[in-house]
Amino acid sequence: MSEEILKELEKGKWPSYVTEIRKAGYEGLLKVYGKALEDKMTHFIHGGMVGVKGYDAGVIGRMTDMPDVMKTSHLLRVIPPAGWFYTTEALRKICDIWDKYGSGVINFHGATANLQLVGIETEKIEDCFNELVKLGWDLGGSGPDFRTPAACLGPAYCEFAMIDTLDIYHEIVMSYIEDIHLPMHPYKFKVKISGCPNDCVAGAARADLAIIGTWRDNIKIDQEKLKEYPEEVIKMAVERCPTQCMKYENGKLEINDEECNKCMYCINLMPKALRVGDDRGATILIGARARGRIGSFLGWVLIPFMKLEKPYKELKDLMKKLLDWWDEVGNPKERIGETIYRIGMGKFLRDVGIEPVPQMIYRPRANPFWYYWPGEVE
């Protein structure tokens, strides 16, 4: 019965993950998963504590309630190179190691941004990791720690990139590597880096700290190249511009950059004719979380503009300040956005020494209840 259901999932036009599990010869997983489909219920249960010596993170313990078939199927989170760029040589070596110790099933990439090696038994984890680490691969974050960050491809081949996403990613991984392996914060802390407001790595939705490239000066218009776009596309940009700051008259496009809110829409529409400006940096959002105790948060503005140049001192100082504050006041299982929300954005800003600016909000409060802090009132 369960084999028949699995066979159904191997049909069709889209390549089948079941076929891949079969190709890897991971029979145990096929049986446990097939039974789950048949029973309409997972057969995985809480995993035990597993890992490699010296780390408290990076291996996700998985156990099943079908020990005769397959008792454990742990998962290794491996930190991928910035932007998920690889050489075939590197991938082949990872595959060799994974065939030797693990199931041969890989997830490119998990929602945590890691390269996930799916399915290894407890006894083999240490040896497997020791071979990986010799090639320079390390384990990513898990639990209440600094998680493996994520970065869009940015300057590699995207003309919109206004910050060096790959380099920032690399720098953050290397400076927080011990933190990644040691869960010691109230809860997880995710950083995502996108080169422009298109936010291809979904930082605004999923990162405690989202670093999103932006610019402060004028959009560059190439009136000649503009002619390559049909009138209706140009008119659509003018009409849909959220701040209504564009004008198109007599075949000429004008932008009132003072009013532009840097949403990126027109540039996406006509990348040949419009280029982002030269005064580049990032907007930093704080607090996103998919499903919090009180609902879901999208990230909100913490720093409207920060210049980001090597060695990214200002960014690192900010991260340290935030983590120190949160370590002090955060409750267990509370993401930093929830802590800020509980304590109050105003108090938080005061505690960490960030100036309040109107860019942080849509509109000021409509209720009359606020605090004064010691020393503010005589």
Binding site: L37, H43, H109, Y157, H170
Partner: protein, 361 residues
């Protein structure tokens, strides 16, 4: 900092990205001029130097075997000088510097069964969590739902001009929402509908009662009367979030008869136009019906049909609905509106309509 420990190397970090960059990328790093969508799945990137790089996006399944990785590597060795990239949505990118090579890559990966597409105004690769293939808290099975949706919407992945804008779908097996389900155009999220059961022995053996009392967002868990080393659950307060089961194996919440999926629409991440938006509930419950998920597929098809029919060019699904109004969305799709759709949680007041402007449907 790299450490030599008695048990081996530790804290090595990550190999530097530069060694993984294709020569054309390395040469033109940070100096790109513009891009064009030349055909489905293929983007042409032109550098300020005049160099051209084509990227070819290939849809992959959630899991890939090492054997398949090697086959993909063979293709990348043959045509992309040994370089390959992956995206944040389970797809792979191949590189080419001329159109002839582009076509050869497409032909070879497709002959192996991996479709090329997912760029520009298309269905993007569907993000799906591991669901029943690997997770203990899953209320539904994300990978097989994603597979069923791919079959139904395959043509939208393979084309790049049949949708008004991009369409991002994500599937999470439970309310933990691994994957960006809370900000997707269409999100499928597994739900439980009954309070967890309490297995006293397991709670006593594996769980901390004070921690459980604290962790429940609805304060539905309290020490059990007469047996305070276990707990009892106030079923009227419980909202089936599963957070307690995540912590404690003694509170199983799975229920094959009543678990199922919910459908949410209208989320988006980019700051373009009105900015990021949350996905909103449109269908509170559909039954778990693997392997082909007919109810879920029908519902999603209905929503996509609505999108294609009513969106203006360049509008994301949520933008279309916000423009015409949610009351119209429910009317035009025929999806029933219920008490479940009206928020009664922490931020609910923001969602109530103030003033007297709305459409009569």
């Amino acid at each position: 900092m790299v450490e030599e420990t008695p048990w081996g190397l530790r804290n090595v970090g990550v190999p530097h990205y530069e060694q993984f960059l294709h020569p054309v990328i390395k040469k033109n790093y940070g100096k790109w001029a513009y891009h064009e969508h030349v055909k489905p799945g293929v983007i042409k990137h032109v550098a300020e130097s005049g160099d051209v790089l084509y990227t070819i996006r290939v849809g992959l399944p959630k899991y890939v075997s090492t054997q398949t990785v090697r086959e993909l590597c063979d293709i990348a060795d043959k045509y992309s000088q040994g370089y390959i990239k992956f995206t944040s949505r389970h797809s792979a990118t191949f590189f080419a510097t001329d159109e002839e090579t582009v076509d050869k890559i497409i032909q070879e990966v497709e002959s192996k069964g991996f479709p090329v597409g997912g760029t520009d105004h298309s269905l993007k690769s569907i993000i799906n969590c591991v669901g029943w293939t690997h997770c203990h808290t899953a209320a539904t099975d994300s990978p097989s739902i994603a597979k069923a949706l791919y079959e139904a919407l395959y043509d939208y992945f393979k084309s790049y001009d049949k949708l008004p804008e991009r369409l991002k779908i994500a599937v999470s097996g439970c309310l933990n929402m691994c994957g960006a389900t809370h900000a997707s155009d269409i999100a499928i999220i597994g739900v439980h509908r009954k309070a967890p059961r309490v297995i006293d022995e397991d709670v006593k053996a594996f769980c901390s009662v004070p921690a459980l009392v604290k962790i429940c967002p609805k304060y539905a868990i309290r020490p059990k009367k007469g047996d305070p080393r276990s707990v009892e659950i106030d079923e009227e307060k419980c909202m089936y979030c599963g957070i307690c089961y995540g912590e404690c194996p003694g509170l199983p919440i799975h229920d094959p008869k009543n678990d199922g999926v919910s459908i949410w629409v209208g989320g988006k991440v980019p700051s373009t136009k009105k900015g990021p938006m949350n996905s909103r509930l449109v269908i509170p419950y559909l039954p778990n019906n693997p392997p082909h998920w007919p109810e879920v597929v029908d519902a999603v098809k209905k929503i996509v049909d609505f999108y294609v029919k009513y969106a203006e060019p360049d509008e994301r699904l949520g933008e279309t609905i916000e423009r015409i109004g949610w009351e119209k969305f429910f009317k035009l799709t025929g999806i029933p509106f219920t008490d479940k759709h009206i928020d009664d949680y922490v931020f609910s007041y923001m969602e109530f309509r103030k003033g007297v402007t709305f459409k009569h449907t």
